[in-house]
Symmetry: C2
Subunit: 568 residues, 2 copies
Amino acid sequence: MPFRAPVEEYRFLLEHVVDFARVAATERFAEATPDLVEAILSELAKLADEVWAPLQRAGDTDPARLENGVVVTSKGYAGAYRALAEGGWIGMAAPVEHGGMGLPLTLATVMNDMLSGACLALELNPLMSQGQIEALEHHADDALKALYLPRLISGEWTGTMNLTEPQAGSDVGALRTKAVPQEDGTYAISGQKIFISWGDHDFGGNVCHLVLARLPGAAEGTRGISLFLVPKILPDGTANALRVVSLEHKMGLHGSPTAVMAYEGARGWLVGGEHRGMAAMFTMMNNARLGVGVQGIGVAEGAYQKALSYAAERVQGRSPVAGGTGTILDHADVRRMLAQMKADLFAARAIGFSCAVALDLAQAGEDGAFWAARAALLTPIAKAFGTATGMRVAEQGMQVHGGMGFIEETGAAQFYRDVRVTAIYEGTNGIQAMDLVGRKLADGGEAALALIEEMQEAAEAARATRPDLAEPVWQAVETLREATEWMLAQGDMQARFAGAVPYLEGFARVLGAHLHLKAAGSEAAPGPRTALARIYIARLLPEHAGHLAAAMAGAQDLYALGPEALLP
Amino acid sequence: MPFRAPVEEYRFLLEHVVDFARVAATERFAEATPDLVEAILSELAKLADEVWAPLQRAGDTDPARLENGVVVTSKGYAGAYRALAEGGWIGMAAPVEHGGMGLPLTLATVMNDMLSGACLALELNPLMSQGQIEALEHHADDALKALYLPRLISGEWTGTMNLTEPQAGSDVGALRTKAVPQEDGTYAISGQKIFISWGDHDFGGNVCHLVLARLPGAAEGTRGISLFLVPKILPDGTANALRVVSLEHKMGLHGSPTAVMAYEGARGWLVGGEHRGMAAMFTMMNNARLGVGVQGIGVAEGAYQKALSYAAERVQGRSPVAGGTGTILDHADVRRMLAQMKADLFAARAIGFSCAVALDLAQAGEDGAFWAARAALLTPIAKAFGTATGMRVAEQGMQVHGGMGFIEETGAAQFYRDVRVTAIYEGTNGIQAMDLVGRKLADGGEAALALIEEMQEAAEAARATRPDLAEPVWQAVETLREATEWMLAQGDMQARFAGAVPYLEGFARVLGAHLHLKAAGSEAAPGPRTALARIYIARLLPEHAGHLAAAMAGAQDLYALGPEALLP
C-alpha cells in the first residue's frame, strides 16, 4: 500500500480537537472557510500522494551529491519541488502583499506534516524557505523585502539558515564568521559554516543564505552577532564569493544535501540592526522548531502506514483469536505496537497543531498576548515531542517488520535513520527542554499553569461522560502541576536543567492525554476515538509518572557523580 | 580516546554483584580461581582493545561482500578472528574432552561483552559457533561430535544457524525446507534459508550449517521439524551442494555477512532424533539469547565510551558551574545523559551476568533445578533488556554528540544502526516477552516470585544502611509482585501477551534497581557505586510504574480497536 496523506485525520483534528474554527473566525483569517480548507487538503494530498511520496526512497537510493562544486539532487526532486512551488504552496502562510496566500500557519503546518510523511528530505527545503520568509518579513528593510520575498514565496528562489560552525553548535555565541562593512553599505562575509541544509541544489533559481556573523569590534557571545542575507547569485546576476566545500556523509536524510559552506568575502546585506542577529534568527528558529516537530509527526505517519500495511499482509502462524484476519495483526503484541504507534502519533500531531493554532491566534485573535504565551510554551514541546514520537514510531515500525525491518529495501529502516536528526537539529531536544523550564517558565509559570488549569477543568467536565478515562487524566494533570511548581521553586537553574528533558516528556504525555480525551468527547457514544484514547491513557499516559519523578531529581546527584566516576 | 574493555567493571560485578565466587566454589568450576579470572580478563582485554576494536569501523567502511559466489570479509577481520581462535577463546566454556577450556559460561559471557563492544559484527561469528557447539554437545551422536566439536572449538571451523525462510520467521513451524533420507544414513537437504548470519566467509576452514528441515510425511508445525548438520565442505573434502545466493543490504552490522542460502540436495546429518529439531534448536537459541543480550550491553559500552570521550573534549559556552571542566560535561543535561547511560548499562550488564551465573550454577551447583529455573526466567529478560539498553544508550550517545552524531565519520551512528538488529534476531524482543509471561510463568510463578522475594528481602535489609535508596526499591518490587500476580491470574493468554513487553521492561527496571542497591551496599561508606545507584533509582527506576501499569491493561482494548480503526 502506498503512502496516503491522512486527510480524514486532519479534518477531525482541525474540527474537533484544536478548534481551528476559532482561527477562521478572526477577521485576519476569514478566508479560511471550511470549503477552502477542504480544497486545500485535497489538492495537497494529491500532490503528496502522487508526486512526492514516490520519491521518498530516491533520497536514499540516489542521494544528493557534489559534482565539481555543484550539488546534484535525487532524481525527480527538482520536478516535485517545482510542482509544490507552482501550486503557490510555499507561500501559503506568507503575506499577500508579497505574493503569499496569507492563510493561517495551521494550514501550512498541515501541509508540512503531509509532505514530511511523503518525502522528508525534500520537505526540509521549503521548510527552510518558510523560516527565511518569516525572518525577512519581520526584520529586513523594504528594499530587501521587495527583492527577495516575492521570489522566495513563489519558490523561484530558496532559503537556508547558516548558524553552526565547527566550534559553535548549541553555543551559537562562539561563532567566528566575520562581516566587514563596505563603502556601498553591504558587508563582506568570510568564514566557514557547517550543517547547512539544502546549502545548494539544482532546482534552478537563487539560493539565499541567512548567515550569522560578527561585525568588527562586536561584543563576545550572542550579543555581538548580526544577521546577513548572502545570496548565491548577486542582484546583478554575477556569482557571489561563496561555495559548497563538501556534503556531509550522514546516517540518513540522504536526499537533503547538508553542506559545508565557505564564505570568502561574499557580499551580504544586513537583516535587522547591527548586533541584533539573534533576535532575527529566533524568529526564523521558532517557526522552524514547530516545523521540525511536525517533520517527526509526518515521519511517524509514514512509518505507521508502512508497518500497518506489512502486518495486514504478513501471514504467520495460526491466528490466536477466533475470527481473526490470519495475519500477524491478530497477535496481541503486534496489535499493541500498532495501536500505540497510532495513539502516540495522534497525541504528537494534536500538540503540534495546537501550537500552530496558538500562533495564528497570537497574530490574529483578540487575546494575542495570551496566545503568544501559549504558543511560546508549546513550541519546545511540539518540537521535542514530535521528533521523539517520530523516533519511537519509526523504531516500533521496524519492530513490526521483524527481520525485514532491518533490510534496507523494505523502507522501514529509512524512516528510522532519517528521523533521527530531527531530535538534533533546530536546537537539540535537550535545548528545547531547557528552553521550556528556563525561558518558558520565566513568567512565573503563568502560561504553563493556565494550560494545566484548562486541562484539569476539561478532565473534571469529562467525568460525566467518560469517567474511566477522565479520572487518570485528572490525576496526571495534578502530578504535572506538582512538577511544575517544583520547577518554579528552583532558584538554581541547574536543578531545573537536570530534570528538563523528563519534565518536557512528562508534560507532553499529559497534554497528549488531554487531547485524546477531547477527541473521545467528540463522540456521542464511545467509538474509535474513544477506543484510541483508552489505548493512550492505559498504555502511554502512565509513563508520565516516571518522567515527572525524574524531573524533580535535582542536579546534586549528577554533580556528585564526578567526571572521574563517569569513566568506564 | 580508543575503546577500552571495562575490566574494572567486570571485576566489580563478578565480585560484588553477581556472586561469581559461588560458581568458583563448585567442584565443576574449581579451576576458575581469582588468579585465573584475572589472567583471562587481562588477556582478553588486550585482544579486544588492540586487535578487535580498531576494526569496528571497517565493517562499515569496507563491508562484507559477495564476489563470484564467495564472501569477502572486511579487511582485518580474518586476522582478528584467528587471533581469537588461537587463544583458544572460542571454546572457553566448551567441554574439555573435545578440546575446550571447560570454564564457566559466565567468563565466556564477559568475553562476549568485551568483544561486542570492540567489534560487534565480528563477534557474531564466534557467538554462532558457541551456540552450535552447545547444540552438538547435547544432541549430536558421537561420530558427529568427534568430527565437528574439536574443530568448532578450536575455531578452525565456524557454525551457523539456519531457521528462517521467507514465509517462516517467528513462526518457525511454517518452514518448508525438505530432508530426504538417503541409503547411507545421511539426508538430502533442499530449500532456501534467509537471514543466515556469517553464512560464509574467507577465514579458511569449513562453515557448518545447522539447518531446520522437514522429513517426508512429518507433522505440520514445529512438531514435524528435524535438525541437520550440513557442512559447506564434506568430510571427504568435496564441496556440498549449497551456496550463498546473495547477501542482504542491511541498515547496519555491515561487517557481518547475512546470507540467503540455497540447499540443493546438500548432504546433511541428523542431529537429535527425527522430529526433535526444535528441542535441539532451543539449546542453541537459549545460549544465543543471552549472547545477544550481551551484544546489546557491549554496544552500550562502546557507545558510552565514545560519547564520554566526545563530551570531555567538546568545549562549548561558559561553564554553568563553578570549577567546571569547561566542556559540555559541565552542563546538567549532558551529565544527565551520560550518568543515565552508565547507570542503565550497569543494570543491563548485571542482569546479563546474573543470568550467566545462574546457568553455571544450574550445571554445577547443588540446587541445579532452582538455578535452571532462575536462568530460564532471566534469559528473555537479559536478551530483551540488554538489547533495548544497547539501543537506548546508542541513541543517547548520538544525542550527546549533537549534530556530529548524525555524521557517519564520527562513529556514534554506527552503534545506533548496528545494535538495532539485536532487538530483532534470535527471537524479537516481543517474542522474548511472550516467553516470559507464557512459558516462564507456567510454573505458577514459582521462579518469578522467588526472585521477587529475594529482591524484597534485600531491600528490607538495605534499609539499615541506605534507607533513601532501599525504600523506593522495596516499593517497586511490591508493584512488580502485583503485576506478576495479575499475570498469573490471567487464564486468557492474549491478556498476558498484550502486556508482555511492558511487563518485561518493568521487571528489568526493578531487577536493575535491586542490583544497583547491591552494588551500593558493597561500599562501606557511600561512594561512586552509591552515587550511580542513586542516579538509577531517582531517574530510571520510576519508569517501572508506567511499564507495569501498561502490563496490566489487558487485551480487550486492543481487540476493541478493530483493524479498520487502525487505518490511517
